[in-house]
């Protein structure tokens, strides 16, 4: 016990003397939370639009003015032919082409239907998807307006249209920041838990001080605890700063119990520190640790459900998310903050992460040998 206190005293002294660590614990959460949610934006604006209008009728003009007035599209190209419009796409001047065929208005009036071609550049998947979806919505809307307009004609038979309305529960305005910010907070904790702890231990290997520790009577478990506790505390400090930023900057007030977030974070950090520790037992140099750390980090992030929904992943990927503590925490964060979930709802997640913590840490302790 006494030995542990001496270890902790030393670790904290070193942390407070290392401006890089202090900065990453105290300043990183500010910067990431203030910058990322704006940049990692799910709303698509400024879709570059190319229009090929073969009709030049009043209806086609009406349609063009409707689509450009939405604010999502920017008319950058007005081409005489489809091939010319393709050139605009190839030179990145346009993301989306709408071709209005000749006789668009005439057919619309005479036969009550007409065609339109929508071509999307899908190099940027998100932009293409959302841009295409917006365009389809606007076209449908335009269609309805015309129908309403024509209702006044007695000869016209209104086709009964089924309107689909949706409402977004728990995040009524679909504010992406509300679910991005808690997620980003989780990635921050992940970085501190995995990287700082792994690099710290490997650094002792590099300098050679670990050898001095290994010839001392200090127990393996004491040494490891002395390494884990400081980073565990730093993780919780980062979480606190992050929650304060979300509260006062984004007005995100957790509907659920904040204590529950802390409880989960404590277990979560334990699991990640285990991962960091494990990396440090494999790596001999900080360069190696960084590379392995990044590799693990990418898996944690991309299969964590922050950027893409886990539900839409293939089965095998879903299985990987089962051993990814980050995936659990991101989900739990959103459940608690947005939905106000209680302990019963997150019990399964908590137990899973606790299990992972036990596995990672025992593996690391087993792997860390005081003698070869």
């Amino acid at each position: 016990m006494n030995q542990l206190l001496f270890l902790l005293e030393k670790e904290f002294r070193q942390v407070f003397r290392n401006p890089a660590i202090l900065r990453s614990v105290l300043v990183m959460p500010f910067i990431q939370l203030l910058v990322f949610p704006f940049a990692a934006n799910y709303e698509v604006k400024n879709v570059l639009l190319s229009i090929v209008d073969h009709d030049h009728s009043s209806y086609s003009k009406k349609f063009i003015s409707k689509i450009t007035s939405t604010g999502y599209f920017k008319l950058t190209d007005y081409s005489p032919s489809y091939n010319k419009a393709m050139e605009a796409i190839e030179s990145d001047k346009a993301d989306l082409i709408i071709e209005i065929p000749p006789g668009f208005e005439k057919e619309l009036v005479k036969e009550n239907k007409s065609k339109m071609l929508l071509a999307v550049n899908a190099v940027n998947g998100t932009k293409a998807n959302l841009g295409g979806a917006y365009a389809v919505n606007i076209i449908r809307d335009f269609n309805q307006e015309i129908q309403v307009e024509w209702m006044t004609f007695p000869s016209f038979n209104a086709i009964p249209a089924i309107e689909i309305t949706s409402s977004n529960w728990y995040n009524p305005t679909m504010n992406y920041k509300d679910f991005m910010v808690p997620g980003i907070l989780v990635t921050l904790l992940t970085m501190i838990g995995t990287f700082l702890s792994a690099l710290n231990i490997v650094q002792e290997k590099e300098i050679g001080t670990i050898e001095q520790i290994n010839v001392s009577p200090i127990a393996k478990s004491t040494f490891i605890l002395g390494k884990l506790i400081p980073f565990w505390i730093m993780g919780l400090v980062t979480l606190t700063i992050g929650l304060l930023v979300s509260r006062f900057f984004y007005q995100i007030v957790s509907i659920g119990n904040i204590g529950l977030i802390y409880l989960f974070a404590m277990v979560f950090l334990l699991a990640l520190l285990g991962v960091g520790l494990l990396i440090s037992t494999f790596a001999e140099t900080q360069t190696q640790a960084t590379f392995v750390g990044f590799f693990v980090m990418m898996i944690f992030m991309l299969l964590g459900g922050l950027y893409t929904s886990i539900d839409s992943m293939p089965e095998w990927a879903k299985w990987i998310t089962k051993i990814n503590p980050v995936a659990y925490f991101i989900e739990v964060m959103r459940m608690i903050v947005l939905k106000g979930s209680g302990f019963a709802a997150i019990k399964y997640h908590l137990l899973s992460v606790l299990g992972l913590a036990v596995v990672f840490n025992s593996w690391a302790i087993w792997n860390y040998r005081k003698r070869s």
Partner: protein
């Protein structure tokens, strides 16, 4: 005064089909300064690592401070000090904090640490540097401090693996004065070195060639039996036959 503190009996370490230390046998008495010489790659560091409980021997037997190197490594660790050729203090801690930390993990009480720190700093002439970061000290001072930290908890044996590498002759002399003082207090000193003038300071010297101990005696007797004027000559005569080069 004559009980052996280190006993090695046919101690061997093999890495695959490479035999790093080959059946070395010797005894080191309490308070003795035992020089452990050999060219690079002769197997000195491997032997030291086995005595310190960092490396499991392949065969043979050995005890350090009465404890078995196979089964009682944790007990050995409580009774030894160790200073490696790699620098072993924390550069981002001050002189005082390093002393405190290492003394602490050897189980010394806070009161005892405080009591002993003052006299040590005075002895090392580091009173005004007590609160300076170790990284700002010159190499020779660091080495003296590292040695003092290694014997601060009054171990039965201290293992020194090339402790004076890269240090100027005056500081080396001062370093050896610290070693003599420790030996007088009854601490057994087990030291490897490449400086033959340092070998002359040892009570007894062993010379390892290709994993085996080829000679073991007092420096005076070694010079006699090899018909040499200095330990340098003795060493060269023996090491010339070595097949392994470098490590």
């Amino acid at each position: 005064m004559n009980e052996p503190v280190i006993i090695a009996n046919k101690l061997t370490k093999r890495f695959g089909d490479f035999t790093a230390t080959n059946e070395i046998s010797f005894e080191v008495k309490k308070g003795e300064i035992f020089g452990f010489l050999g060219a690079n790659g002769a197997g000195k560091t491997t032997a030291i690592r086995m005595f310190c409980g960092l490396l499991l021997p392949s065969s043979g037997s050995a005890t350090v401070a009465g404890f078995d190197v196979f089964k009682q490594t944790e007990l050995i660790k409580q009774n030894i000090g160790y200073m490696s050729q790699k620098f072993s203090l924390y550069e981002d801690l001050t002189v005082k904090e390093n002393i405190r930390f290492y003394a602490g993990i050897y189980g010394m009480s806070r009161r005892l640490i405080k009591e002993k720190t003052g006299p040590l700093l005075k002895q090392l002439n580091l009173l005004s540097e007590a609160n300076m970061l170790v990284k700002s000290l010159p190499l020779g001072w660091k080495q003296k401090l590292a040695f003092s930290v290694a014997v601060f908890h009054e171990p039965k044996v201290v293992f020194l693996d090339e402790p004076t590498g890269g240090v100027d002759p005056i500081t080396r002399r001062e370093f050896w004065n610290l070693i003599f003082q420790a030996a007088e207090r009854g601490i057994t000193v087990f030291v490897t070195t490449h400086y033959m003038d340092e070998a002359e300071y040892c009570n007894r010297v062993s010379i390892m060639v290709d994993g085996k101990i080829e000679a073991l005696d007092t420096p005076r007797k070694l010079k006699q039996s090899f018909n040499a004027l200095s330990m340098d000559e003795v060493f060269l005569q023996l090491a010339r036959g070595a097949k392994r080069a470098g490590d």
